[in-house]
């Protein structure tokens, strides 16, 4: 019973700031709820059917999925590459680890603002450097069209998060027993075979964790697009979370925003359950 007393602040806090809002958002999703006027009563299922007819919804979903696939492939690849680079040892190990991790200490919003300047026409250093080296003639518009806006944002995200995934994968790499590599070397395995048949299988748990974190994080992307591309050009880089924000605070409709939030939550719960099942299944096998 004494334990319940010590757990009381947690229980109270979770009830007020987590459970209650969760109940409220469910109710809001089934109500007409303008931002200013507040609750106007039950209207289920209008908010949900409005999602389908929202012209930005499917483009936002596809863009978010496209972005998630791109970022996940690049980030896990980059994280693994950096982890192997550190694992290889060498004089610069400590310095390299700190440099790769440095961007991860910075906030995503400040990193996005930094890159907004970095990509800009007026003070961005990349075009002057490229032109000086005579690699390009005309300045590159880093955020000018949908594809370059996507790629520029992806570069920012890889820069900001690669160190984070390197760290998770490094923990996994260091847990692989050294004698396995020695045994493989005695058997005459080359570097690729060692990597393919020892490193990758034994890294499965860390890789799966990175994958889950990266997919979930990317599906919920907001700051980087709100700040860097503002959803543009021509609404081509609007993510699902940005759509929720727009519904709520630009179109002032909390009801439809709540309905989209509930859909996103449901998709995430299903996705995470499947991913954790797969992770557990692969461990038992």
């Amino acid at each position: 019973m004494l334990g319940l007393l010590y757990a009381a602040p947690t229980a109270l806090f979770v009830a007020v700031f987590f459970t209650a809002p969760l109940v409220l958002v469910t109710r809001m999703s089934a109500s007409e709820w303008p931002l200013i006027a507040g609750d106007k009563g039950f209207n289920f299922p209008d908010n949900y059917s409005a999602i389908e007819s929202n012209s930005l919804f499917w483009p936002a979903v596809w863009f978010t999925v496209e972005y998630t696939v791109l970022v996940t492939v690049l980030l896990i690849g980059m994280g693994l590459g950096l982890a192997l680079l550190i694992q290889a040892g060498g004089k610069w190990k400590g310095f390299l680890r700190t440099s790769f991790l440095f961007p991860s200490a910075m906030g995503l919003a400040s990193a996005s603002l930094l890159f907004w300047g970095l990509y800009s026409d007026s003070i961005g250093p990349i075009n002057p450097i490229l032109q000086q080296l005579q690699i390009t003639h005309d300045p590159i518009q880093f955020l000018g069209d949908p594809l370059s806006a996507l790629l520029s944002t992806t570069f920012l995200i890889v820069w900001r998060f690669a160190g984070f995934y390197m760290l998770i994968l490094l923990v996994g790499l260091q847990a692989i027993p050294h004698d396995l590599y020695e045994a493989a070397a005695i058997d005459g395995a080359n570097k690729w075979h060692t990597f393919r048949y020892i490193t990758i299988p034994l890294l499965r748990r860390s890789l799966a964790l990175s994958l889950i974190l990266c997919i979930t994080g990317s599906l919920l992307a907001f700051d980087q697009f709100y700040i860097l591309t503002k959803g543009g050009p021509d609404n081509s880089t609007i993510t699902v979370v940005q759509l929720i924000y727009r519904e709520a605070f630009q179109r002032l409709n909390l009801g439809t925003a709540a309905a989209i939030s509930i859909v996103v939550l449901a998709v995430l719960v299903v996705l995470n359950t499947v991913q954790f099942r797969a992770l557990r299944g692969s461990e038992e096998a």
Partner: protein, 277 residues
């Protein structure tokens, strides 16, 4: 012998080229931001040459840099205090006691991780408004503490579980109650866990953008992340990139310093999550 040295140099060359290039790519944007914040640029606070003109302009931007800096420090510190208070007692309870609904409370706390920020912030905006904590720094800190709770509770629970039972029993024999044991014996033993939780809560609160964007309306109550982002929208016509990069530096320096000072704790926090999670 000589051939060996030569072979070694050859195999090491790709390593140095690769590491060097990677280090430059990762450090260049940070170095550039610092440079751009003091470099002269027409139309910015530092019209020509090097100097602190952009920082000077930032000091007098709207409510003044000091106000935004204070807002950020206040919210981050309040988040740390609330997170520590709740998770310290919670972690102790979950690690050392048996009580009704123990697993339910713990699992619901961890479930916070599953729910997107946006899904929580829409109802929290309404909820905080009805209790008068919307557009309020205390309300902002409470919400940020809620987002920190899964990691903090988990971290404190494993920290308490790692303390050997004999240590507590010795104190209990001396007649100390559970609170006495917590204060005198356990608190020093879980100090590394406390530092990790505090560091993560501080960085998350300092860097959070979407939470203040939704919960704060008044520019005078905006923390740095929100205030600096608004800076580029509110200058008429010409965007003042110099002041913007100065703002980025002001936001980043405390994080980078903390990270440098507590790198061990930072790495440890990830490891515990990576191994147990």
């Amino acid at each position: 012998m000589k051939r060996n040295v030569l072979a070694l140099t050859f195999t090491r060359t790709p390593y140095y080229v690769l590491s060097g290039a990677a280090a430059i790519v990762f450090l260049f944007p940070l170095v550039w931001a610092a440079y751009a914040s003091v470099n002269g640029q027409a139309g910015s606070g530092q019209a020509e040459g090097f100097g602190l003109g952009n920082y000077d302009r930032l000091l007098h931007y709207e409510d003044g840099l000091a106000q935004y800096f204070f807002n950020s420090v206040f919210v981050s510190c309040a988040t740390v205090i609330v997170t520590l208070f709740v998770s310290l007692f919670g972690g102790y309870a979950f690690a050392k006691f048996d009580f009704p609904f123990k697993n339910v409370i713990f699992l619901v706390t961890l479930a916070i991780l599953m729910v997107p920020y946006a899904t929580m912030l829409i109802p929290l905006f309404v909820l905080l408004k009805t209790i008068g904590l919307q557009n309020n720094l205390v309300g902002l800190a409470l919400v940020m503490a809620m987002f920190q709770l899964p990691f903090a509770t988990f971290m404190m629970r494993i920290s308490f579980e790692a303390v050997p039972k004999e240590l507590e029993e010795a104190a209990q024999v001396d007649g100390a109650g559970t609170f006495g044991v917590l204060r005198k014996i356990l608190l020093p033993a879980v100090r590394p866990g406390i530092i990790t939780v505090a560091l993560f809560a501080f960085l998350a609160a300092w860097n959070d953008f979407i939470t203040p964007l939704i919960l704060i309306n008044d520019q005078s109550k905006a923390p740095l992340s929100l205030a600096i982002t608004n800076l580029r929208q509110q200058t008429m016509g010409v965007i003042d990139y110099g002041s913007l990069e100065a703002g980025v530096v002001v936001m980043a320096v405390p994080c980078l310093l903390l990270f440098f000072a507590l790198q061990g704790q930072y790495v440890r926090g990830f490891m515990s999550g990576a191994i147990k999670g």
